[in-house]
């Protein structure tokens, strides 16, 4: 029995509208596409407002400000000035990043647009500082270590280790452009291309599987949730 849920009908209609592009571009497809873009923008806006701006900026800022404010107005209620400095410090901890973030909007005022350099410089500095060691360790050191010092418990693992070593070495040879690819370097780079092609093939195969999975998801929705034939 076909569903009576209006939202599922709407979803099914939009799914079919998008599928209609397989025939050719048409107003139904464009309607669904534009609706998706508009709703996504609104949805992301709401999510960022509630989960980021309100939760991590406005809420703590107002909380800390009110605490700080009332502690100045009625210090006798809050054991004198004991908590005054920490409250003010907490307030600043949110206020300074907020002001720094707002400097991004100076981009729309040409006269003050140079101020955008400060938040960008801050982000770059913090980002690079945070990422340098963990990224280098996780993506380079650990990978190099595993390539040259693999752990193997049987002959098959040993064979795998040799193949990976040859693959890594020959692919790196292919990307060595300081010397013309002649003689031994040509042989190595040719072997490297084979490894690269196998890698591309595996990635492509996985990509095809991923796209088919998405189609399965939509078909399953149509026949299971909408028209209930399975």
């Amino acid at each position: 029995m076909i569903t009576t849920d209006l939202w599922i009908w709407l979803s099914a209609f939009l799914t079919l509208a998008i599928f209609s592009f397989l025939y050719k571009d048409n107003p139904l497809y464009r309607f669904a596409e534009h609706l998706f873009v508009g709703i996504s923008a609104g949805y992301y806006g709401a999510i960022y407002w509630h989960n980021a701006i309100y939760r991590f900026i406005i809420n703590p800022l107002t909380e800390n400000f009110s605490t700080f404010y009332y502690k100045i107005v009625w210090p006798e209620l809050f054991e004198g000035k004991v908590y005054l400095i920490p409250a003010f410090f907490s307030f600043l901890m949110y206020l300074i990043p907020l002001l720094l973030g707002l400097l991004f909007f100076t981009l729309i005022i040409p006269k003050y647009s140079w101020l955008i350099r400060y938040p960008i410089a801050f982000l770059m500095g913090v980002g690079a500082g945070l990422a340098l060691y963990p990224s280098f360790k996780a993506r380079i050191l650990d990978q190099v270590k595993d390539t040259f010092l693999p752990q193997f418990s049987n002959s098959l693992h040993f064979l795998n280790a040799i193949i990976i070593f040859i693959g890594t070495f020959t692919v790196l040879s292919y990307f060595f452009f300081s010397k013309e690819h002649k003689g031994p370097l040509k042989v190595l780079s040719r072997i490297g291309i084979v490894f690269i092609m196998i890698g591309f093939g595996a990635a492509f195969g996985y990509t095809v599987m991923a796209r088919i999975s998405l189609l399965i998801g939509r078909f399953y929705f149509l026949i299971h949730d909408w028209i209930h034939i399975i």
Binding site: R139, A202, T207, S213, I216
Partner: protein, 273 residues
């Protein structure tokens, strides 16, 4: 015009139709093709299976609805396993469009899997800035999770009792259609030595296998196949299991088209010479 010329000129719409049918028809029939469990998936299952009751696990549903058929079945199958094992699960998302889907996993854990609200499972919602969140958990989760998604304060949530950072969190699972499992691996594993599992779309799987080999990931669930394998392991077959028949047939049809297309190309080239 010979057969090879005709093959080379098959209309695109005909190929769409054949692929569409090869995906659609298997969904109508109730049969399951044999499915082998791959080692990266088995290792995830074994790791969770060996965790003591009450262990803390982060389930980060870092995906959006556009990759739902691949990633959501993974999250549900993993949640089912963790609920069965009576682990303490902290569900969050680092993807802004993932809030609704992560909430769905949370609701299912409570309604279908018997997990107790805030004792066995906590929903924390969306956190902007993945790096800051992952690093913050490594220092003190109290500073990151001040309250759950519904506003219940940290100290009132029994599931957080005795948990400070990755020393007490036995596993972090990131399910994603983007590079977020790599961010978890880089910071949670790379900096704090946390155990990390990746559940990714098939597109992402190939590039994560080197990290699994080097033990930076405990295991990987790759695409709908990975989800189907996990569904089989927890004996709760769902969308992924049903979809595997379609994937098998569609892959077979595509391989056939690739072979035929190549033969037609070479035959035409030979004819031209």
């Amino acid at each position: 015009m010979n057969i090879w010329d005709r093959l080379a000129k098959i209309p695109r719409s005909f190929i769409f139709l054949i692929i569409g049918l090869s995906v659609f028809l298997p969904l109508l029939f109730k049969f399951t093709l044999p499915l082998n469990i791959l080692k990266p998936v088995q290792e995830v299952y074994d790791f969770i299976e060996n965790l003591p009751e009450g262990s803390s696990v982060i389930l980060s549903c870092d995906y959006s609805p556009d990759v739902l058929p691949e990633t959501h079945p993974m999250a549900i199958a993993l949640a089912r396993h963790m609920a069965r094992k009576k682990l303490r699960v902290y569900i969050l998302t680092l993807h802004p469009a993932g809030t609704g889907l992560a909430l769905d996993v949370y609701n299912r854990m409570i309604k279908e899997m018997g997990a107790r609200e805030r004792k066995d499972v906590v929903f924390l919602g969306y956190f902007p800035s993945s790096t800051a969140t992952i690093l913050g958990i490594g220092e003190n989760i109290r500073n990151v999770f001040k309250a759950d998604y519904f506003g219940v304060p940290f100290d009132s949530i029994p599931a957080f009792e005795g948990v400070k950072n990755y020393n007490e969190i036995r596993l972090a699972i990131s399910i994603s259609g983007a590079a977020l499992p790599e961010v978890w691996m880089t910071y949670a594993n790379g900096r704090y030595g946390a155990n990390v599992v990746a559940g990714v779309t098939a597109v992402m799987a190939a590039q994560l296998y080197p990290y699994y080999r080097s033990k930076q990931f405990i295991g990987i669930l790759g695409g709908m196949r990975g989800a189907a394998e996990y569904e089989k392991l927890v004996n709760a077959q769902n969308l992924a299991t049903k979809g595997m028949n379609s994937i098998s047939l569609a892959n077979f049809v595509m391989i056939l088209f690739v072979i035929l297309g190549n033969i037609a190309y070479f035959m035409q080239r030979r004819k031209r010479r």
